[in-house]
Amino acid sequence: MSLSNILDNLSRFRQDAESERYGHHDYEHRFGMAIDLDICIGCNACSTACYAENNLPVVGKDYFEQGQAMHWMRIERYWDDEELEHPERGASFIPMMCQQCGAATCEPVCPVAATYHTPDGLNAQVYNRCIGSRYCSNNCPFRVRYFNFWSFYESSWPEPLNQQLNPDLSVRDKGVMEKCTFCIQRIRVAKDSAAREERNMIDGDVITACAQACPTNAIVFGDTMDPTSQVSLAWKKHEVKRGPYTHKEAKSDEEIRGYRVFDELNVDPSVMYLERVRDSEV
């Protein structure tokens, strides 16, 4: 079963990466983001909001040191001018979380298909199917999959902290992989409400916890299949398309700010970043 599964996944994966239609699904939605690194100030509000929304455990100092922190959304900070006496151009911040790749490299390697692609364009993780092989996290170029090496329930939520847990999703136990879900519980609620109201989902029906919190509105979330959504407009303006890597040269102006991290790996990330700007005249 698992071998055929892997082969099957692999061929689908290649089809995803190579075909014009870029995908094996009849997608209903393809949720995506646009994150403007010029207005992201690196403040951590998004990341903390994600802890609050998604029942992320606090692992403590020692496990943090082992690289076992569970921050689905982490704000990376880089220094670019290594040779200078001081970082004169400030720091480079980037919020990094699961990019919900359309041709996700983590998916085909799961022996039990615990990580798979949903018709909403999400790279979903089925916790109770996950056997903890960790192949997916090995294969994730973005390093955004987090494995529960321990059961954090008691250490992370001593009573009554556990009363804050969001009942819309589970607390993951030892042996299970987890990662950003694009706040799937919020998507589900919005879909259900729209269905009850007998209408299609519209832009703004769902906002992820991180995008909601962001004080500068650096994160735009929405359906990239809805051509009128804010996120689609942003992708269009910055000439980033779904599917295989668009070379800079193929853009009308190669200096346009939109790009996807590791786009050249052809994994079709659902997150577009806008380049940070620094005033070189200054």
Binding site: D38, A49, I75, L161
Partner: protein, 762 residues
């Protein structure tokens, strides 16, 4: 675990329920579908509120099929699986952002910004997000405690209040003191009432992180203490240590305005400071002037501007002559900043205006902080910022409700009073000076001379554990309140704090409830109010029309509207600006620097703040924005300085000032001046619960008692320390293995020039 709202106890939440039922009754018989029904109630967040029907399969009420009437009984008030959003106010810092809190099955689960609040426009910061962990914190004080012999022992509220009443009615007025953080709204009214009933003027509002010196200078030079800062209108912002994106004035509000400043015609940010703050991390140009020389740099820039005639406002010849002594060579030598760079900053101010120049902690935290801030303000005046990027203040029309802002000059005054044995009874509310005051001020030992110390607190902090009576407070999520933020960016708003759930513990009480109970003992008039809610309700009913924007406050719908929106927007009183041109006599570092020591920078963090959030696990585990270190303290040092002392990451160093010493691990970074060492404030608690206790070192504790000579504010950046190596070391625990991108280009950067060409700057 699930808290079902009981109808029996007259707690504040029951009252909300009663309110809601009352509102439901008013609508009886009107057929409304559930969606619009919920919207009509105080269930804020219209869109999100309904999105709260999280598990539709378990929801029995089908939209449109139910009538209002069947929904009335309190038992059904809690709908399984349905999250509802209520408006309230964040109290994690004194910026006063409006909140929406999601409540499900009687539990508050998630906080988000209130889009109706003009302060934060629906946004929040990491501390605001963590309000739930303050509330559900496992280390709360859950019953009143009184000192018996050497230890604090649990007592009943009756016993506690009887003792409190006795102490307060017998203390002679001027021997009573009340120490708090910033206060506003009706909590402030009641505090003033208590003080006046006791006959005392000793209210000490104390905040380590404040903007007092900026305000004092604004008042003296612009005629307006709290002018509105228009980041969005600025073409260039030159900030001398003002960390406006994280700790200065109103961080969430500022961040929203900053985004506008960066979008459209992209503004330029230049940050001058000895240690990189979050705002510095976002600068186009980061300028690490030598610690304490920012005032000189500001005057040097002013000199270039006036000598080239770039000033937008006439500058009298006398001022020009005075400025002339700050010639480029001299300024370059004092500040350590290349002359060419200083010239560039000056020309930026002239070419890329409108300019906005700010002064924050590292600049003003000096013995001559007032002068340094005045020098900075001079730039605003000569560049014509006054009236363009700096607009007249808008203040809340009711003085009694306006903010009493905390500062550190009040700490100084309080400490002086303690050493003079001036007080017999002291109250501490939202204030923990034993932790946050420099040890040299002798607060801890001074408190021994106070006969009766009362801590109104949620946590067993350092000050509470020294008290004679500890009164456990409700969390912000369990309590009522009103808040009028000191800085509102042009609006005049009162934000309502309403309980999102029933108190977790039976034996905690609201701050207002305690004040009302105490006031009833001193004044019969207060007996009409069974609790704070009743008082608040009556006060709001009596609000004059100029506060309510003409609406009739006595009308039930006014209160309902307030509960629903969470904010009362009123017409503020606009101040006026008149600029005074003067050249300040700034200090130079030769006043206090010697070559063998380093300047200690106890930098403030968005996160642990002044240490009050060290007990929040999310914030302990959130990497510091700049250093990315977690869970501990660290001492930032420049690689050059570290190399001289043969130090590497994780080495434990002893940092010794005239007033004390701490030990912590070295974190090497280029984002600091060679002559400085930075140990962020907030860690090193001796008490304060499991997450805070014994984590890191408290850099505030070793500050020398140096004060700004003009305002009396603590000079936080004026302590010189000797650093020595110990034999100990540990692993520096931080997020991410690499500080550089190694060619992988996660974060790509373009020049602003390219941006203008490709996106037309829009």
């Amino acid at each position: 675990m699930v808290q079902v709202i009981a109808g029996s106890v007259i707690s504040s939440l029951t009252l909300t329920v009663v309110e809601n039922i009352h509102r439901m009754k008013m609508m009886k018989g009107v057929k409304v579908n559930r969606r619009s029904f919920l919207k009509m109630l105080g269930w804020g967040g219209a869109g999100t509120a309904l999105a709260g029907c999280d598990m539709p399969t378990t929801v029995t009420l089908e939209e449109g099929k139910e009538e209002v009437v069947s929904y009335l009984s309190p038992e059904e008030y809690v709908i399984p699986g349905v999250g509802v959003w209520y408006a309230s106010t964040c109290t994690q810092c004194d910026a006063g952002c409006g909140l929406h809190g999601r409540v499900r099955e009687g539990r508050a689960l998630k906080l988000e910004g209130n889009p109706d609040s003009p302060l934060n426009n629906g946004k929040s910061c990491m501390m605001g997000q963590s309000g739930v962990q303050t509330h559900y914190n496992p280390d709360r004080v859950t019953s009143p405690m009184m000192r018996k012999g050497n230890s604090l022992q649990a007592v009943s509220w009756d016993e506690a209040m009887a003792e409190l009443g006795k102490q307060v009615s017998s203390v002679s007025g001027d021997r009573f003191a009340f120490v708090s953080g910033s206060l506003s709204g009706h909590q402030s009214v009641l505090t003033s009432e208590l003080l006046s009933k006791v006959g005392s003027k000793n209210h000490f509002a104390y905040e380590t992180i404040n903007t007092s010196i900026w305000q004092a200078v604004s008042k003296d030079l612009l005629g307006d203490a709290m002018p509105v800062i228009r980041y969005d209108k600025a073409g260039v912002i030159l900030s001398f240590g003002a960390d406006f994106l994280a700790t200065w004035m109103s961080p969430v509000h500022n961040a929203g305005e900053y985004a506008k400043f960066r979008q459209g015609e992209r503004g330029v940010l230049v940050q001058v400071e000895p240690k990189m703050t979050l705002t510095g991390g976002n600068a186009d140009l980061w300028v690490p002037a030598a610690p304490g020389t920012e005032g000189v740099l500001a005057l040097g820039i002013a000199n270039i501007i006036v000598s080239r005639g770039w000033n937008k406002v006439d500058v009298p010849a006398s001022v020009k002559t005075e400025l002339a002594q700050y010639d480029l060579n001299k300024v370059e030598k004092i500040t350590g900043i290349q002359g060419s760079k200083i010239k560039r900053i000056a020309s930026l101010l002239s070419e890329r205006g409108p300019a906005l120049v700010l002064a924050g902690e590292s600049t003003v935290g000096q013995a001559k902080g007032y002068e340094a801030a005045s020098a900075v303000m001079l730039l605003n005046i000569i560049m014509g910022s006054v009236g363009t990027t700096i607009e007249p203040s808008v203040s809340f029309p009711e003085n009694a409700l306006a903010a009493k802002q905390g500062n550190t000059s009040s700490l100084k005054a309080f400490a002086q009073g303690l050493s003079d044995s001036k007080y017999d009874v002291v109250f501490f509310y939202n204030s923990n000076p034993i932790y946050s005051a420099p040890e040299a001020l002798g607060v801890e030992s001074g408190l021994d001379k106070v006969k009766f110390k009362v801590a109104l607190t949620m946590f067993p902090d350092e000050t509470a554990l020294k008290a004679d009576l500890v009164l456990p407070l409700n969390s912000a999520i369990e309590d009522w309140g009103t808040h009028v933020a000191a800085y509102q960016g042009g609006s005049a708003t009162m934000s309502l704090q309403q309980p999102l759930m029933e108190p977790l513990y039976k034996e905690t009480k609201g701050f207002g409830d305690i004040m009302i109970a105490l006031l009833s003992k001193l004044d019969e008039g207060y007996k009409q109010f069974p609790d704070y809610y009743a008082y608040l309700r009556t006060s709001v009913k009596n609000m004059p029309a100029e506060l309510t924007g003409g609406a009739l406050a006595s009308d039930e719908s006014f209160w309902n509207g307030l509960l629903q929106k969470g904010v009362l927007k009123t017409t503020g009183v606009t101040g006026s600006l008149t600029a005074t041109l003067a050249v300040a006599k700034v200090g130079t570092p030769t006043d206090h620097l010697d070559q063998t020591s380093l300047t200690l920078i106890p930098s403030a963090r968005l996160g642990l703040w002044d240490g009050r959030h060290a007990n929040i696990p999310w914030l302990q585990e959130a990497p510091d924005q700049i250093s990315k270190v977690v869970w501990d303290s660290w001492a930032e040092m420049h690689p050059h300085t570290a190399a001289e002392m043969n130090l590497k990451n994780g080495d434990i160093v002893k940092i010794e000032s005239k007033s004390g010493s701490i030990e912590t691990q070295v974190a090497i970074t280029k984002a600091i001046h060679r002559g400085a060492i930075s140990v962020p404030m907030g860690q090193g608690h001796k008490e304060y619960g499991r997450y805070a206790k014994q984590t890191g070192a408290n850099s505030l504790s070793i500050l020398d008692p140096v004060f700004d000579h003009k305002t009396g504010e603590l000079a936080t950046h004026a302590t010189q320390v000797k650093v020595s190596k110990t034999r100990k070391n540990q692993i520096l625990i931080k997020m991410g293995g690499s500080d550089v991108q190694m060619g992988r280009s996660f974060v790509r950067t373009v020049s602003a020039d390219q941006l203008r060409r490709t996106e037309g700057g829009a």
